[in-house]
């Protein structure tokens, strides 16, 4: 299988501090790759490098190469890259000034994914169904997202990313602050979504990694210390840090 996302000797320094140090990885097509590691190991930074959000930080220095769909990230227009490689943040961030419907519809309209009203409506419904939110919000699409619970807001944010029909969906601890019921719904959605796209999931939860992941990368002090199919790494961890992470000690 070829790599959708490939990093070679990736080094990231933030304000003089090395956050990622010589990272090499190959994210496979239509898979869920889980990135685990203790806090501060560089997981979120890695996601932000992949879709070039790191550039918002004026103190960031990036060296090495990241190739997305065969093209160096710096050969992409950053806005176009982010339309194909979408990042969903840890904290749900629906736009409070827009309705539930418009939160999902706007990215599709602005990026030219859907143009006519019918197309947009169909796409919004498809995305909300994919994250199992449609039945819960279909009667209040014109309400602001503040009427939703934290878990519903996070699923709305994933739906908002899905309407772009991304090639790669980057999820930065999307279930960190939400209840188990919503967590399970998101996990179910992810398993279904990997048929259409490649998913990179940062999580602290080994159980979640085991439930949804195909491949796992363990980051520690900015380096990938262990990688491989989830089952293999979980059964035979080679590194002490991995063992501790899986036991949730770190």
């Amino acid at each position: 299988m070829s790599c959708v996302v490939e990093a070679r000797d990736l080094v990231v320094r933030l304000g003089g501090r090395t956050v990622l140090s010589g990272v090499n990885l190959c994210i496979k097509h239509n898979s869920i790759s889980v990135i685990m590691g203790p806090s501060g190991s560089g997981k979120s930074t890695l996601l932000r490098v992949i879709n070039r959000l790191i550039e918002l930080n004026p103190e960031a220095e990036v060296s090495g190469r990241v190739v997305i769909m065969g093209k160096d990230i710096y050969e992409w227009d950053p806005y176009e890259l982010r339309r194909y490689v979408v990042l969903v943040q840890q904290e749900p961030t629906p736009f409070p000034n827009l309705s539930i419907f418009d939160n999902v519809a706007l990215p599709a309209k602005l990026n030219g994914v859907a143009r006519s009203r019918e197309e947009v409506e169909k796409l919004v419904r498809w995305a909300l169904e994919k994250v199992m939110l449609w039945d819960e919000v279909k009667d209040r699409l014109r309400k602001p997202p503040t009427v939703l619970s934290g878990g519903q807001r996070q699923r709305l944010c994933i739906a908002r990313a899905l309407v772009l029909r991304p090639e790669v969906l980057l999820l930065d601890e999307p279930t960190a602050n939400i209840d188990p019921a919503n967590t399970l719904k998101i996990e179910e959605s992810l398993k279904e979504l990997k048929e259409d796209m490649t998913i990179v999931l940062v999580t602290h939860m080994p159980h979640q990694a085991a439930r949804v992941g195909d491949f796992i990368y363990v980051l520690y002090n900015g380096k990938i210390i262990e990688e491989g199919p989830v089952g293999e790494v979980f059964l035979h961890p080679r590194h002490e840090v991995t063992t501790k992470l899986l036991e949730r000690v770190l």
Binding site: E80, F95, L98, L110, R160
Partner: protein, 282 residues
Amino acid sequence: MGRSTRKAINLLVIAVIVALGVLGLLPLIWLLYSTAVNGLPPLLEKGLSFITDLPPTPMSTDIGGIAPALVGTLISSSIATLLAVVSAVISSLFTREYMYSRISGFIEAVVRSFNGIPTIIVSMYVYTTVVLWMGEPNVVAASIALLIAVLPTAHYYLSSALRSVEERYREAALSLGFRRIHVLRYVYLGVARRQVASGILMTFIRAVGETAPLLFTMGFLTNSVFQGLNRPGNAISLLIFIYALSPYTNYHTVAWGAALLLLILVLIPVLLIEVLVKEARK
């Protein structure tokens, strides 16, 4: 210390705080009271014609109206507010998006310096550059002078509004492929729309209340309501200033009426801002 002593001290402190609060509000209440008492009679006497009639001649029995001043104030303040808001949106967006750049620091320093310039100097500057070039005081020159005077206010309020938008919304938008112009339209001006509206109203209030920038730039039109943007105009604050200094009692009466009208013109946006701020806090 016994319970009753503590209660007594508590009551005493509350009484002192309330008294100090009332003392602080007294000048404001006195100002509103005296303006209402002196300004209401001409408004009640003339009714709507106070805002549609031309100003009186000295010593005339009719107090006339302030139509040229009202029209001039609304036109020059609106032009200045519009231009100031457009410039401030651009400058505050730049300083928000590139907050660590040297240019942002330079813009902030320039705006701060402008804020400290006495507005009478602005009036003199516009007189020497615009009025002398155009041949006579006019509404355009007055609008430019007001623009320079209110630009720091517009920048301050709009940049505060844009800064109030949490970084996570900006990042979320950029993560979804939004271009910077879309971030401005849907995130900054969308999420902070009430704060932006408050900033626009504050800029308008500042423009309406300014007098000094108009002294050398507006002229003093009294014989018709409006003659054009390139011709002399009038303004309520200017009319109050000139009529209050005159020796004629009918002019003093008109000045009081105009002062009350100006207060109302300022208080309406202030009340609107209150509503907007309350809505934003919900």
